[in-house]
């Protein structure tokens, strides 16, 4: 039942993709004709790029070339402004991982405490409500000024944007653990530590993982923007750099890579989520 449907869906996906490529080719083809007006041609020559005819929107084949060149040698390193896509992505992922990990270290224990105590929840709530809607990038000037380092600032921005969904979901998950399970632990005189790790944590784990998944999604969105502002290396900086080079085909390639990595990150959390989810 599932298999033929999966096959049909894949077929439709493929058709959609081909349709998209076709329309893209068509659109860039006419555009290229139009750009051959005398003024534009003169301008491109003046820009020193006349030979490449690259001023128009890149054609699919041009972007395809970029895919092949970058993916065939993802880890080359030709100095600070010319590194392989693998190295760029690895740096971005490293920043995300570090900021995310710091957020986990803060959000889990704090969320636990807030979830366990209605008093703390009420005390922390105004701060969470105010800090949560702030765009992570708005922190950037403050981070740059106080931390003095662009790399550390990037990590801080990831930290601050990952924090809230995790904190809120942990607190909510812990607070809504079924009363029955808590009562079981109470009648068995279970120690607080054992109760926390063997009853509350597994009970709240699915909600906590959902928070982590949301956080990771936001972190990956934010790192690209943050690196555009401060980066010297990383996928966001790569996009910005290629934009400055007017190499739009490379930008498109990078955008697709950002999408792929984001999808893989999300799926990793999807698997983890499945692992801790229990059926009642």
């Amino acid at each position: 039942m599932f298999k033929p449907q999966g096959f049909q869906a894949a077929l439709i996906s493929l058709l959609l993709f081909l349709l998209f490529l076709g329309m893209w080719s068509l659109a860039t083809f006419t555009r290229e004709q139009a750009t051959l007006s005398s003024v534009d041609a003169e301008y491109t020559v003046l820009m020193g790029k006349g030979a490449e005819k690259s001023s128009g929107f890149p054609t699919p084949s041009k972007v395809g070339e970029a895919f092949i060149t970058y993916l065939s040698d993802p880890f080359y390193d030709n100095g600070p402004n010319d590194k392989g896509i693998g190295i760029q992505l690895a740096h971005s992922l490293g920043r995300v991982a570090l900021g995310f990990l710091l957020a986990v270290i803060v959000a889990l224990p704090l969320g636990f405490a807030i979830g366990m105590s209605p008093l703390l929840l009420q005390a922390f709530n105004p701060f969470i409500q105010i800090l949560k809607p702030i765009s992570p990038l708005a922190w950037m000037p403050i981070a740059l000024y106080s931390l003095k380092d662009s790399d550390v600032s990037g990590i801080f921005v990831i930290f601050i944007c990952s924090l809230w969904p995790m904190l809120i979901n942990t607190a909510f998950g812990v607070a809504s653990v079924r009363k029955d399970w808590i009562n079981v632990a109470r009648t068995l005189e279970v120690s607080p530590l054992r109760k926390a790790f063997q009853v509350i944590l597994p009970a709240a784990a699915p909600t906590i993982l959902t928070g982590m998944r949301i956080s990771m999604g936001i972190a990956w969105l934010v790192i690209v923007a943050a690196e555009m502002l401060v980066g010297s290396i990383g996928i966001g900086y790569f996009v910005w750099n290629e934009w400055n080079n007017l190499a739009l085909h490379n930008v498109i390639f990078a955008v697709v890579m950002i999408g792929f990595v984001g999808m893989i990150l999300d799926q990793i959390f999807g698997v983890l989520q499945k692992f801790v989810t229990y059926r009642e």
């Binding site: 079981v184 009648t187 068995l188 009853v199």
Partner: protein, 303 residues
């Protein structure tokens, strides 16, 4: 008054934000090895009483004394079987029971805990299912695990909050039989809430009847005088069965509602609620009031 294993004295509960107590001046005792059921309509505070006995809730007034010590907070001395089994769904059946066993005997080795837990799971007929997750079990099997978990810590007393309420009639019957067997074998002291009159007659030595809340009272304590080796299949052949059953049903249908305004309520002595034995028709009850005798006589004639 003789010293009971568990005695409840002057228990009262007022919920925050309300003025009228849900119940007050509740007195009763349970002896060692006794099986006591409590029957009453929803809202009379049965579950609250059980939670106070378990130590999960605090009373507004009054004390509970078990084995010479006042009940203050939950304790491993009292095992609780919850209404909806309350198994941890992320643990296997065995792990659920082992969690309780390890709580009671933290120094035991893993193997000993597993062996002890398996023993109690086999006792409730779940020897084959110990590695399954609760979600893979039927409602009846889950409740069996709940019972095994409570028995496995070998508590001084067992508290059951309508353990079979959510089960279908057939499953309920089988588990009742199993519980009866286990309780008879272990001479466990049990306090159980039920809505099922037949269940109470089958399992209990004494049935506490509560009037409707708020201001619920113990109207009387019915002694089940049928022989202790009764079985579900045969107990309805005993002439006592219908007398007791009618008495209990009559209480639930008629008397529990308007008890507060009745003559009996005026004569009610909360510290010594009347003990009745509707099963023994002809026996004269020394502690019964004439009013009660008359009433019981009339009932006997009617049925």
């Amino acid at each position: 008054m003789t010293q009971h294993f568990l005695s409840v004295e002057g228990l009262k509960k007022v919920y925050p934000g309300t003025l009228t107590p849900i119940f007050e001046n509740i007195h009763f005792g349970i002896d060692k090895g006794e099986f006591v059921c409590i029957i009453g309509h929803s809202g009379c505070g049965k579950t609250t009483i059980l939670n106070i006995l378990a130590g999960l809730e605090e009373s507004s007034d009054g004390v509970v004394i078990m084995d010479g010590r006042e009940v203050a907070g939950p304790s491993l001395d009292r095992g609780v079987v919850f209404q909806n089994h309350a198994l941890m769904p992320w643990m296997s059946v065995l792990a659920n029971v082992a969690f309780a066993v390890k709580s009671k005997w933290p120094d035991w080795s893993k193997a000993k805990i597993a062996e002890h837990s398996t023993h109690y799971l086999e006792m409730v007929g779940l020897g084959q299912a110990i590695h399954k997750k609760p979600a893979e079990l039927s409602g009846g099997m889950k409740q069996r695990v709940g019972i095994a978990r409570a028995f496995a810590i070998e508590p001084k007393m067992l508290l059951l909050d309508e353990p079979f309420g959510a089960l279908d009639a057939l499953t309920r019957g089988t588990i009742q039989d199993e519980l009866l067997k286990i309780v008879q074998a272990t001479r466990q002291t049990v306090f159980m809430i039920t809505h099922d009159v037949d269940e109470a007659i089958l399992l209990a030595d004494k049935v506490i009847l509560m009037s409707n809340g708020p201001l619920a009272k113990i109207v009387e304590i019915v002694e089940i005088t049928m022989p202790r080796d009764r079985t579900r299949a045969e107990m309805h052949h005993d002439p006592q069965f219908y007398r007791i059953r009618n008495h209990l049903v009559d209480f639930l249908v008629n008397r529990s509602k308007d008890y507060a305004g009745s003559d009996a309520a005026v004569l009610h002595d909360a510290k010594h609620p009347p003990v009745v034995r509707p099963g023994l028709l002809k026996e004269t009850e020394p502690e019964m009031t004439t009013f009660r005798q008359l009433r019981q006589f009339k009932q006997a004639v009617n049925h």
